[in-house]
Symmetry: C2
Subunit: 283 residues, 2 copies
């Protein structure tokens, strides 16, 4: 399924639906999940589409999401609130909730708001070239050509449905975590949408959360690391083609770990920088 | 002035003040500013005190603030909303606004809400030791002893009022940015509150935003870099004593830059990891 359709939202007429102004309907589509829970980047992208529409600005400059309950397949409502409309940025919040089944409506005709899936805060802008001075003290990860990288299939022991919706080719040094972890909390690979669907800055949000968890390559007894919070800075709209992605963890402490991501486009430009805080459950 | 008093808030009785439940009164105190605009970490700490009280949880695990308008000295109101109360985390939003002068109240007795200063989203928890496995792939910055480090005085050409409220001792290699930038977008130093006031996790928020901007040491024509957004992950409560702080920028692109911070306590433990997105204004 095309990513732009899978993350589409449409404004709800406030008076008809009982929703406030700035509410949008959308749906969590099948096959964007990992073990039944929709991918975090996918959910944030859907919320970002609503926020972008509400603010009338195309590009998230910085967006933060907190993950509160599993995103299950089905209709959702994204309610947005404008915090500030400035010259350079529009700032808004968004809450995504499942749409309550009709039988949850009580005698007064109102349903209790279902538990939120994600809560989002973001600043949107127009990421056209700024002409400001630049200084880059890092290079894109060196990856073998796409055709020499590794597609994660069911053999990998970690091949969520999500991987059938994207094109992901892992660095051979990082791809065999299911057999022999590399010993480094590092995941690198090529990413694009299925059939090379064009990517906007909102599609980059998916790329920042699509690779297997870095700690699968560390020598730690870990089976899953649920994300508490994800923040992404978008620096530029990507040129068409493959993205080069690199995710790294340096600090597993106090039951938490960060996962730091860098995403570069085919022109060699940094397009996104991400960090998530994840939980390391006790064994 | 003690930091805990300078960031204190008290709950407003909802019915008396016209404020909703979960609103707190506080004040931006003099001398916590940089050129008249209160320090970002100071503002976030004040909002965090309100959120922590509202949620009944002591420690922010991850907190994100967007900076919307200058924090000027005077009374403020912090309105909080609970997003979710879970087993492990309580999640809330907060909006800090200046308190409108009494003459702004219109005939109906209600005043238009003043422009927000900051908007915050955070997850709070109890950061007691988790017993989870740990893995740390970095060491605290190597700093000369405190007495060999450099106090930034008015001679530095950058000595905001804030620096009289904290004890900051800069690494000699990074301290002379006003005379000769080091050429590396890096700032390192020792930090503690005045008179060694004890620090909780909320006080660490100040430490993540208290050093001079990293780009002052880069070869860039920059006079100021306003923060758009700051996200801090708190990993542990600090032991008493000095903090070792390190801030670094790798990517100045598209008119933006990130500033990545690591804060370690005197026991050598990572206590906070921060990232902010700042604007690089056109010259």
């Amino acid at each position: 399924m095309r990513f732009d359709l899978a993350t589409a939202v449409s404004p709800l007429p406030g008076s008809d639906s009982g929703s406030g102004p700035g509410s949008y309907s959308g749906a969590i589509h099948p096959s964007w999940d990992i073990r039944g829970n929709a991918n975090g980047g996918y959910l944030v992208a859907m919320a970002a589409r609503a926020m972008s529409d509400r603010l009338g600005r195309p590009d998230p400059a910085t967006i933060t999401a907190h993950f509160l309950s599993p995103g299950l397949v089905g209709p959702v409502e994204v309610s947005t609130e404008i915090v500030k409309e400035g010259r350079m940025f529009g700032t808004a919040t968004a809450t995504m909730r499942p749409v309550a089944p009709a039988d949850a409506v009580d005698a007064s005709g109102s349903a209790p708001a279902p538990r939120p899936i994600i809560q989002v805060l973001g600043a949107f802008t127009d990421l056209s070239d700024s002409g400001a001075p630049e200084l880059v003290d890092a290079a894109p990860p060196v990856l073998p050509p796409v055709e020499e990288c590794v597609e994660l299939t069911d053999d990998a022991g970690f091949s969520p449905e999500l991987f059938k919706q994207i094109e992901l080719r892992m660095h051979p040094d990082d791809a065999y975590f299911h057999v022999k972890p590399s010993g480094q909390a590092l995941m690198r690979g090529w990413f694009r949408l299925l059939d090379d669907e064009p990517m906007d800055t909102i599609a980059l949000l998916l790329a920042t959360d699509a690779l297997p968890p870095t700690v699968f390559n560390a020598d730690l007894p870990v089976s899953w690391v649920p994300t508490v919070e994800l923040t992404v800075h978008l620096r530029s709209r990507p040129v068409p083609g493959w993205l080069r992605c690199e995710f790294r963890t340096r600090f597993v402490t106090g039951g938490f770990l960060e996962e730091d991501g860098l995403v570069w486009d085919e022109s060699g430009r940094l397009v996104a920088q991400s960090r998530q805080l994840a939980l390391l459950p006790k064994i």
